[in-house]
Amino acid sequence: MLRVVDFRDVVATLDGWPALAGLTCVVERGEIVHVVGPNGAGKSTFLRACAGLVPVRAGSAEVLGVDLVRDRTGARARIGLLSHANGLYADLTAREHVAFWVRTAGAPGADVDAALHAMDLRGALADRRVGRMSAGERRRTALAVLLARRAELWLLDEPHAGLDAASRDALDATLRRARDAGATVVFASHEAERATVVATRTLRIAGGVAA
């Protein structure tokens, strides 16, 4: 199995504080890994370190075969990160967002309508400005963008937050489809019950190390 994430004794600091204090973990291709841990455990920092947004101060870290210590940005084009913010523009519609991302960072042949339909953004809703959407609809738009980009590694921070039951089911189905298409998914969530439905493995982090 190809290792998509390979962290060995990784230390990463936020404002001088060691948010990751020697984390060792491996994620293999095709896994859907649920990252759990109490608030402040280092879950979000782990996801951001995987995306190369947080520098690795010590240890070794490889993501998609790229050494993050030497090249923090090399793997980014193959990674999709959805954090607490959705990364959307209030005055653009869901369709315009997906079309923009397909044009700028999407995979060849990516289908705007298919991505919108997968997240149940159809009809007038797809053409509604994001600023006039509910929190759940905005989250689904951000997920549709991620879907259209066809990232190899999905990093999701609380992806179920703000979604209704139907949208959560759609998200879980989307994650499974992404996995079946060859992607690897790592997501942090406090919703253990929901997460166990879709995850193939759980990674526990506490105090910046794997528990």
Binding site: G80, G87, L92
Partner: protein, 226 residues
């Protein structure tokens, strides 16, 4: 696709602006008020005719700050710029795209401000002067937009960026203000200036724009990523 990214970013920013209408509903009235206030403050026709070029470019520069703040407010409101960073998108091309969008907005603004100056300050433009004036507008606007976008990226997310931006940008755009004012004075024949005298200033504006275009494209990614 690489050239496509520049135009996609420019089109996205212009579409967002067309819907929010910040330029038409806020910036344009603001710039108009600046022009009127200058007219009231100076209150002498010969002084206004002599300084018309400078007043147009001062009003444009003040408006630049509002437009740059807006251009980066849409990037930070929901961390959209972070999303571009994380996706490994070439930020140098994002810089060019955002600069083009800003350039278009500034140019539209100037197309209103110049006729306002003609009416309010009672200046005249003949055909050779109009050619020089339009060329000056294009070159100066390009320089202002490139500098504004670069420093907008530098201050994005920083504390007190609203006040920091003018403090950083004004000294840098001083050569643009001076050259654009001199060229516009020649175009309007203020103080007996000849049109031919203005073209050297246009050359300076073009060099400034080219230098900042190259420097900004190279530096923007590193500035935003830190």
């Amino acid at each position: 696709m690489k050239g496509g990214l520049v135009w996609a970013v420019a089109a996205r920013d212009l579409r967002a602006e067309a819907r929010a209408r910040v330029t038409t509903n806020q910036v344009l009235p603001f710039a108009g008020l600046v022009m009127v206030t200058f007219a009231l403050a100076l209150d002498r026709e010969e002084v206004l005719q002599r300084t018309a070029g400078g007043l147009v470019w001062l009003a444009t520069t003040f408006s630049l700050f509002v437009l740059v703040q807006r251009a980066f407010a849409i990037e930070t409101a929901d961390r959209a710029l972070d999303a571009l960073r994380v996706a490994g998108v070439d930020l140098g091309r994002v810089y060019l795209g955002k600069s083009i969008a800003l350039m278009v907005q500034l140019f539209v603004l100037e197309c209103v401000l110049v006729p306002v100056a003609v009416v309010l300050y009672r200046v005249r433009v003949d055909a050779p002067g109009a050619v020089l004036l339009v060329t000056t507008m294009i070159c100066a606007t390009t320089g202002l937009a490139l500098v504004g976008t670069l420093y907008g990226g530098l201050t994005v997310g920083g504390a007190g960026r609203e006040t920091l931006l003018p403090l950083l940008v004004l000294p840098v755009v001083a050569p643009v203000l001076i050259a654009a004012t001199r060229a516009t004075e020649s175009a309007l024949r203020s103080g007996g200036a000849a049109v031919s005298e203005g073209w050297a200033w246009v050359g300076l504006l073009a060099v400034f724009a080219a230098a900042f275009g190259i420097a900004g494209t190279l530096a923007f990614g590193a500035l935003v990523d830190e």
